[in-house]
């Protein structure tokens, strides 16, 4: 509760709303004690006195009544009616909702049908009908407004109750023989009350507006008694000649409702855990770049060069170092595997290449990514966009989530082409069918009009691949493209990628956590741990003689077909949290070869020939392994 209030107070707007509301409520409470003129005494000699005139701070109305006094008494009445309507609606609505949700079955059915029917009315219409039946009057307006809002509460509370009514503690209470009434009052109600309060805080502004509205129409408070709405209604006839009589009550309603809305928003935000974590941030078009060090010079090694790349996530004053200085290169036509556990930074490395790391919170803080010598990290967005999909294309993991759910796959393919070169409708369609054929989707001409949800997982991933191929890129970055698929489909997709690579001369960067996949597809492999490369070299050599203890342990995790004797090992422990990396080797805590010097300081990536390793006590000495 304290935490909640503190959160609420941190939201400056909500705080302002709370203060204004408290002030208004206080003013309404002390109104009878203030030295005010009688709000209902008419004085026709002093009609329409302007604001700030002698003896009437806000002036007088069409009957010479003191506006300030009427305003405060009116506010008092409006607030009272609004709160009363909210409490009435919440109580009745909650009772209905709890009964429907708790008993379920036919009772629930009948009640909710009724609620649906009430909700089928435009709500003022229903309020008007009720006032028509009961006759104009403030009490009747209150009843009408409360009645109109009952369905809203009933529906909300029913939803919550249904969730609670099937929890274990309710079952336990039932088994212990408690009556339904006892269970509702002791088990259900305490859990529902907070929801009722929140729902009230968000609707009370509406209720005040609605009652003011009915009074404005002359259907609420009757003269001489006046709430804010009827003050405004009476002032309307003098709107043009004496606008201040309208402005005074109108602004008051605005202030009250706005304060309540601010407060309500604050309450809602304080209770929404996603806002606290910043999870509702919108990712920008390209990852933010804040490089502090010098940009590494081009070396001309490979088509795609990643040089000392550093990518961090900045969340609430903490930085998580996802990628901590990764250097890689890919030659034309080559397939490079990047392997590591979840959280090793392999996907972030891959997404950093084209500035696709979600930002905020992602920030590229150093290094360079060069395509054919051109630095992409420092490139303006327009240039980056031009190259996305045309020079470097991506294939992502879960094709159901990565394809647009509401667009036909053909249209998504055509769009991929169209954003890079103008193409006619007919040509586009033909090209899209070609692409689907190229990824071996049977009946391509028909499947092109399918939506993603109408396809199987494997077919969808083929569409993902076709989309990556659309502009004949030189490099495809495949971020765990087979992880979400079952094993047979996985094999088909891998075979397809391998074929495409050979027939089109594609370079592929293949991100995976599976050594089996690396063995099947990749020429070279880089092993990542805690945001760094710990070992790199030709696939066959690494599979044959791993040098880094982590690589060796990772390989031991892969089951081998037909080699059932070997023990399947899991690596004990978890990867380190990347906002508090240990000094020295990040794997030291999980490693069985750790020596004191492992934790002493920075360990460099030692190179020998095609092999490289970041370890002081490798399983096989690097020189030996390289030969």
């Amino acid at each position: 509760m304290m935490a909640f209030l503190r959160l609420l107070a941190r939201n400056r707007l909500a705080l302002a709303g709370g203060i204004v509301m408290a002030a208004v409520v206080l003013l309404a409470l002390v109104t009878p004690l203030l030295p005010l003129a009688d709000p209902d005494v008419t004085d026709t000699a002093n009609r329409f006195k302007p604001t700030f005139s002698e003896g009437a701070l806000l002036g007088t109305d069409h009957l010479g009544r003191d506006l300030l006094s009427r305003l405060l008494w009116g506010t008092r009445l409006s607030l009272a009616v609004g709160f009363a309507a909210a409490i009435t609606a919440a109580t009745i609505g909650a009772a209905i909702g709890i009964v429907a949700g708790y008993f379920g079955g036919r009772i629930d059915n009948v009640i909710m049908r009724g609620v649906d029917m009430l909700m089928a009315f435009p709500y003022i219409l229903l309020a008007l009908a009720i006032v028509a039946a009961l006759g104009p009057g403030l009490m009747n307006a209150l009843i009408a407004v409360a009645a109109v809002n009952v369905p809203f509460f009933a529906r909300n509370i029913r939803g919550i109750t249904v969730g609670i009514a099937h929890k274990e503690f309710v079952d336990a209470a039932r088994l212990s023989g408690l009556s339904d009434l006892r269970i509702i009052t002791t088990e259900i109600l305490p859990n529902v009350v907070p929801v009722i309060v929140i729902a009230m805080s968000t609707t009370i502004g509406w209720m005040i507006l609605e009652t003011a509205g009915l009074s404005f129409l002359g259907l609420g408070s009757q003269p001489p008694q006046a709430d804010l709405g009827s003050m405004l209604g009476e002032a309307r006839s003098a709107l043009i000649t004496n606008p201040h009589t309208s402005v005074v009550p109108g602004v008051m309603i605005l202030v009250i409702v706005m304060a309540i809305n601010l407060l309500g928003d604050g309450v809602r935000d304080a209770l929404d855990p996603r806002l606290k974590s910043g999870a509702l941030s919108r990712p920008r078009a390209a990852t933010t770049v804040k490089r502090d060090g010098p940009v590494p010079a081009a070396t001309g090694a490979g088509l795609l060069e990643v040089q000392d790349l550093r990518t961090e996530f900045h969340v609430k004053g903490r930085s998580y170092r996802a990628v901590g200085g990764v250097t890689l290169n890919v030659k034309p036509g080559e397939c490079l595997g990047i392997i590591g556990e979840s959280g090793s930074g392999k996907s972030v490395t891959a997404l950093s290449v084209m500035g696709l790391v979600a930002s905020p919170p992602g920030v590229i803080t150093g290094g360079a990514v060069r395509y054919d010598g051109e630095d992409l990290i420092g490139a303006p967005y327009a240039r980056l966009r031009e190259m996305r999909g045309r020079n470097v294309a991506y294939i992502f993991q879960d094709p159901l989530a990565t394809l647009h759910p509401l667009t036909r796959v053909g249209d998504q393919l055509i769009e991929a082409i169209r954003v890079h070169r103008p193409i006619g409708a007919k040509e586009g369609r033909a090209k899209a069918i070609d692409l689907l054929d190229a990824v071996r989707i049977p009946n391509a001409a028909r499947r092109i009009d399918d939506y993603p949800h109408e396809m199987s997982g494997g077919m969808r991933q083929r569409v993902g691949i076709a989309m990556a191929l659309a502009n004949d890129p030189d490099i495809i970055i495949a971020d765990e493209p087979t992880t979400a698929l079952d094993v047979t489909v996985q094999a088909q997709i891998l075979a397809l990628l391998d074929d495409l690579r050979r027939s089109r001369g594609l370079a592929i960067v293949f991100i995976t956590h599976d050594f089996g996949v690396v063995a099947q597809l990749c020429d070279r492999v880089a092993v990542m741990y805690a945001g760094r490369i710990v070992e790199e070299g030709p696939t066959a050599a690494i599979l044959d003689t791993p040098t880094h203890p982590y690589t060796a342990r990772l390989m031991a995790c892969v089951p081998e077909l037909g080699a059932g004797k070997r023990r399947l090992e899991a690596i004990p422990g978890l990867p380190p949290v990347v906002d508090r990396l240990p000094v020295g080797c990040a794997f030291a805590d999980r490693c069985d070869r750790t020596q004191p010097d492992c934790r002493a300081g920075e360990i460099d990536l030692a190179r020998h020939g095609a092999r490289a390793v970041r370890c002081l006590h490798p399983v096989t000495p690097l020189r030996e392994a390289a030969e």
Binding site: I124, P136, F216, R388, D398
Partner: protein, 315 residues
């Protein structure tokens, strides 16, 4: 699709019946005797009894309901005693005016609200976002009748840009330009609250969608940011925006009551308020049932639009 529309129409029948029952029951609550109300307190008991028999009020409640329902189904909504005119004629004529006003306001709030929400979301925490968020907050907090009055004061009285009230000029042609100049202020005043609500929802729906994987896919394809936002993200966000458009249509229709009063618009809302104050029950009954039924049908149209947008909702 045709089957889906038919199914939705059939499912609306119980709702429509429910509406008539609710309205009928509310009206049956009215204390006192309609015949006395019509004839005045000096009527002789014989006359009251005769009128009650004529009106069918001496029969049991359920019989009265079915007679009333049957009459409505054949287009007979009764006669307004105050206007001495068939209720349906009056309602239809007034509803036309309301439709012009509320329809325009609805288009305005849908277009402006979605545009503001998208602009706000795509500049999250930027200056435009803050400005829009503030204006939206102001918009959803201001009573539409007060806003309407202030608009009259500023734009009609002081700046003389628009007429003060009414739907048509008293003298002069009833052409489109006359209608537009009369319509501008009330339609804007009516649209403001709904615009705010839609903008808020559109903003959060867009933020929700913009974090999804298929947006990253669109960017990876090289789709320009404008296309990412207006084509990819908005299309997906519309799935959660459209139902709210349906709800807001109800609020616009409701809010028209106030705006029609403020701007002297000859619509059904003003008719209802006048009828309530005159206790012209048949007119209230007929008007409420008619408007509610139209709203139910409109919501079916919203569902159908949703079905057209989202192929996953299969008929």
């Amino acid at each position: 699709m045709g089957g889906y529309i038919l199914k939705r129409l059939v499912s609306a029948v119980p709702v429509l019946l429910g509406i008539t029952v609710i309205v009928f029951l509310i009206m049956a609550l009215i204390p006192g005797d309609p015949a006395t109300a019509i004839l005045g307190s000096y009527a002789t008991p014989e006359n009251v009894a005769k009128l009650n028999a004529d009106l069918g009020l001496d029969r049991p409640l359920w019989q009265q309901y079915f007679v009333w329902l049957g009459n409505m189904l054949t287009g007979d909504f009764g006669t307004s005693f105050a206007l001495n005119r068939p209720v349906l004629d009056e309602v239809l004529e007034r509803f036309n005016a309301t439709l012009v006003l509320a329809g325009t306001a609805f288009v305005l709030c849908a277009v402006l609200g979605v545009a503001a929400g998208v602009a706000s979301a795509s500049n999250q925490y930027g200056a435009a976002d803050k400005l829009i968020t503030f204006v939206v907050l102001l918009g959803i907090s201001i009573p539409s009748f007060f806003l309407g009055m202030m608009m009259i004061l500023v734009f009609a009285v002081n700046l003389r840009l628009f007429p003060v009230s009414g739907m048509w000029p008293i003298y002069g042609d009833r052409d489109l330009s006359a209608l537009i100049s009369h319509l501008t202020l009330p339609a804007l005043a009516l649209a403001v609250v709904a615009t705010g609500v839609i903008a808020r929802l559109a903003r959060s729906a867009m933020l929700e969608v913009l974090r999804q994987d298929f947006i990253r896919t669109a960017r990876a394809k090289g789709v320009p940011e404008r296309g990412v936002i207006w084509r990819h993200a908005l299309k997906a966000a519309m799935v959660s925006i459209i139902p709210v458009l349906g709800i807001q249509a109800g609020f616009v229709l409701s809010g028209a009551v106030y705006i029609e009063i403020v701007f002297q618009w000859p619509g059904v809302g003003r008719m209802l308020v006048d009828a309530i104050l005159r206790r012209d029950i048949l007119l209230v009954q007929g008007g409420v049932v008619f408007v509610a039924a139209c709203y139910v049908l409109f919501n079916i149209a919203v569902d159908v639009a949703q079905g057209l947008l989202d192929p996953r909702i299969k008929t």
